[in-house]
Symmetry: C2
Subunit: 219 residues, 2 copies
């Protein structure tokens, strides 16, 4: 089964646990835009991404957003099983940014094995520490980096994810990633265009001075 090759700790599970996982795992396709986890109301389970792209973000009471991190091929989405971990006391949203093929381990099976298996519990620790590190990076960005650096970093990251210099992104979508206002993004992109970093056309944005933007980020 393909899941076996993607699961990073398969060999460390006992035969009984391997059997249990094999019989419980469910393959699923998430359409672009599908919501995998909506705050505390959902509990899909532990999700392994075979291919695709998920976005984890938070929502304010009045509908503002900020992206926490992205999950890509072979990443594991832990917080879609947050009902299993009673100390997870925050509401996180997880949705598919691209059509994604995933394997889902139901929460009650995940919980049972984690309680019994030190290797799985330790692996979950490492996963949580990885996400924690991404969120700590984000706090440092929000607190101590100006919007121009954050925008340049985001555009370079998007360009790497899309493997393209041309990005189809609305100013609204960029603002939702960065947790800022659309007007701020519009103003900053015009500044970027004047500086020769990007070229803006209707609905698309082309990176034309990658080195300049990298220097801005690292300045």
């Amino acid at each position: 089964m393909e899941f076996v090759h993607l699961c990073p700790i398969w060999d460390k599970l006992s035969p009984a646990h391997q059997q249990l996982v094999s019989s419980a795992i469910v393959p699923k396709t998430l359409g672009k835009g599908a919501v995998l986890h909506d705050g505390s109301t959902d509990c899909a389970g532990l999700v392994l991404i075979k291919s695709g792209q998920l976005r984890a973000y938070i929502l304010s009471e009045d509908g503002r957003e900020i992206t926490l991190y992205r999950l890509l091929d072979q990443d594991i989405c832990l917080f879609s099983a947050s009902c299993v971990m009673r100390s997870v006391q925050f509401e996180i949203m997880i949705s598919a940014e691209k059509e994604s093929q995933v394997f889902i381990l139901p929460p009650y099976i995940f919980k049972k094995i984690m309680e019994e298996s030190a290797p799985l519990a330790n692996y979950v620790n490492e996963l949580m520490a990885t996400r924690f590190s991404e969120v700590m990076w984000l706090i440092e960005q929000i607190m101590w980096k100006s919007v121009d650096k954050r925008l340049a970093n985001f555009l370079l990251e998007e360009s790497a994810l899309e493997d393209s210099d041309t990005l189809k992104l609305t100013h609204e979508a960029i603002a939702n990633h960065l947790g800022t206002a659309r007007e701020v993004v519009t103003r900053m992109l015009r500044y970027f265009q004047n500086e020769g970093y990007v070229k803006l056309t209707r609905g698309t944005l082309e990176i034309i001075d990658r080195e300049g933007m990298e220097n801005l980020v690292n300045d």
Copy 2:
């Protein structure tokens, strides 16, 4: 041994692991202001607080600070053992805000037991999820709450920690907790004084309208 009564998962450890912990645990007194963990350079181990108060915070390159969370009696400080968890990729500072009595489990013993014991690994998961939740709360505050609400919340929290309406805090110290500039704190405290929330005298701050401040926070 007193540690046994404070350790929340003592009964779930095997006799061999209990023996190992008992022989390795070290009691220690941290003086007020002592640094327990300084980014990636330290690795004291897992620290259980018998009494006292620790503060976890981050530092910017140019010396600005923001408080992530506090640790109080019977809390366990996980990130002072972050060398054991290779996915913890952030620099955190932990220092004693009050003289603190702690028990320290050295990192190599902690690592050995965590690898073998599902109960300890699961407990560490819950600890990390608790800290993660506190940091997520902080992000929401930074992103979506105005400084007046954050300041009022901080003063109410301090008042609860000190069990007093009179707080000895410099504007600089408050700014370092909130991750803002001293001038902003000074301006906001004057506004709080005009509104009748607090009374400022040289070096101290008295909360005189607790209900008003609570309303401001929850507004």
